[in-house]
Subunit: 400 residues, 2 copies
């Protein structure tokens, strides 16, 4: 588990950041951010599985291939997706401009974008903003980045882990933006993780993949995946350890998972219009695949999600969702609980008193819906949110 965080400004040795208002967002505010490592960092990334990939996804995947990167430039307000070759050229031009400003090769720049799909980036705005970005770089600038990459997010998302490797302290600092279009795989639209640990590229890649699978690939807001999702991780080695040793690995992995879990849950909490965070847990499924499928189907059911919103332990909808999840099940062996209150036993309702207690629990902002299939020993979960009037407000009006 992450150690208690100090209350100071979140910084990581050797990283500077800045954010400016370039005018890309419709509402004026910081919308262009830059993160720079003092020295070239070991880098790893996880990218959207959507077949429609935004230009920055294409470029950043290419640039991170060699396991090295120095800076991340990120904008909100425009996703630079479905913009074809001109859009890709815009992303390349952005990397060029940043590279020139920092005096490094454009290959060492990663680019991330989030916002509306299908519109060309206003390159003049980006070009004009880069000098100010460079001039305002500061080791205390990371929270501003978390702010600048927000779109429909209502709060910036930052999490941190402090660990020790070879008796030297290191830090993992993560920031993310999310809100809508969240579903495995991938989950968050953008997540940047900075650490000063020294680590080999393959080890970093493997560690990031393991933690992603447990965290961002276990959340869902509306079942849609984005064209722009990416997790980028930079490790600049300035903690002074020689390289991550076997004995420090487990703790590092745990810390990374903790940070990403934290961010993933924040994203669901801030899901578009969400008022409740619900852990949908499947126990004792016949196979690992069944456990995940059942969790996803229940967690993505519009009828189940509106029942969460209505604070209604409407287990019939949960049973109906399980029934179409294409998993091995026998309805007469299904148990369902809301936190510790059992509302279904052997496929039958546990009665009004239990439902009343469950409804009471469902007034809370967080609760656990656990389903026992009694068909094996596999377990999985999805963190989801409710489906609300506000989701409709946000998404019916997002562009207009």
């Amino acid at each position: 588990m992450p150690e208690p965080l100090d209350k100071g400004t979140p910084t990581v040795r050797g990283f500077k950041a800045a954010a400016v208002a370039s005018g890309l967002k419709k509402v004026h505010g910081p919308d262009l951010a830059l993160i720079v490592s003092e020295r070239a960092a070991t880098a790893a990334g996880v990218f959207t599985s959507n077949k429609v990939k935004a230009a920055p996804v294409i470029l950043s995947r290419k640039n991170i291939q060699n396991g090295r990167a120095t800076a991340i430039i990120a904008n909100a307000g425009n996703a630079n997706a479905c913009t074809g070759n001109p859009g890709l050229a815009d992303t390349e031009r952005t990397a060029d401009l940043v590279g020139k400003a920092l005096g490094i090769s454009p290959d060492e720049i990663l680019v991330a974008s989030t916002g509306v799909i299908g519109q060309r980036l206003d390159m003049d705005k980006i070009r004009s903003a880069i000098p100010e970005l460079r001039e305002t770089l500061t080791s205390e600038g990371i929270p501003m980045v978390a702010q600048a990459i927000m779109t429909t997010d209502s709060f910036p998302k930052i999490s941190r882990f402090d660990g020790m490797a070879e008796k030297r302290p290191y830090r993992i600092l993560g920031l993310a933006k999310g809100a809508g279009m969240i579903m495995p795989n991938m989950a968050t639209m953008l997540c940047f993780i900075l650490t000063d640990i020294q680590i080999a590229p393959d080890t970093l890649r493997q560690a990031l993949s393991v933690s992603t699978e447990k965290t961002f690939n276990r959340i869902s807001v509306d079942g849609d995946t984005s064209t722009n999702d990416m997790v980028l991780m930079l490790a600049n080695g300035m903690a002074g350890n020689t390289a991550l040793r076997e004995e420090d690995h487990a703790r590092f992995q745990e810390g990374l998972t903790g940070v990403m879990e934290d961010l993933a849950r924040m994203i669901v909490k801030d899901g578009e219009g969400a008022t409740k965070l619900v852990d949908v847990v499947i126990n004792n499924a016949h196979s690992a695949e069944d456990a995940l499928n059942a969790a996803k189907t229940v967690a993505n059911s519009s009828l189940v999600k509106t029942a969460f919103y209505g604070q209604d332990p409407n287990w019939g909808r949960i049973m109906a969702a399980l029934g179409r999840a294409d998993v091995d099940m026998d309805e007469t062996h299904v148990d369902i609980r809301v936190n510790d209150v059992q509302i279904v036993s052997g496929g039958l309702g546990s009665g009004e008193e239990a439902e009343k207690q469950a409804a009471e629990i469902m007034t809370r902002k967080e609760f656990v819906l656990s389903i026992d299939l009694h068909r094996g020993s596999h377990r999985d979960h999805i963190v989801t949110c409710d489906l609300t009037h506000e989701y409709i407000n946000i998404n019916a009006d997002y562009r207009t």
Copy 2:
């Protein structure tokens, strides 16, 4: 295409029906309905693919196995699903009571239920209501059945086809209820189709299956399938043809598809909270499976459906949905149209003027969203609706 319908009361030779207010619905009104054929009819059914099957689904599947049935008893207000063996016994008891009242074997009775899941039927109410049901049976009672089986429906759904076989007129009359929990496969919650044609059980079964695949299995409201979905069809042979001949078959199939298509579209139009009916058409997919998958993914995307509601030709969301549909595609070859207005050409937006025109079309109650993948020659479609504030209202408050 169905012939023009006369404006009289919809009747079918040899069928009588009635509906009464038994008290099963929370709001007082007709909620128990009976349809009886003068003679044992040839019967076929299509049932939910959900693994959680309501008691009436289990019983009706069994009773229709031999291709024969005489009556349908249907209730709204209680789905008799997730009620275990006691629930199954209630359904059997219902068939017994109806059989006794009509003087026929309970094996000839089909039972259908719709409403809340997980509560036992109030058998006293059903028992008390059956004498009145029997006494009020009339050949003009079918519209009352369509009324009685409504739950969150806002209007009763009836469609009719008049045809000729061996120069003898016959009729196909369909009624349905739908609204929420609609997705292939199966779509409608309940649909009853009555005809006086003479037809062999295997031919009827085959015809019903073909028409279901083209109609009810091509609609979607919220991606949830119900535990109670069923289509029941009775053919009592009273039209006087000797049996459906080869030369009359195509016309009969066409008529049946027309009636079911009509009902299926009414169900989507009446989708919970829906304000728009949208045909999502996929053209030139690499395979039949790809065409259907792409149509389903776009038609079920919450982000696309809220954009319909917002009358926003937000094609980026459509591209993103296609990208996660797991179909063969190249984003630079995708064209998208709203009716005849092209908004995407080769994966790129067609500009503001086109979007303005498309937005204008999207203010209508019905339009077609067609997507050309240019990867082959397969085509499919899903009829869907928008996702609205009213959907949330209905489903957050359905039980409470």
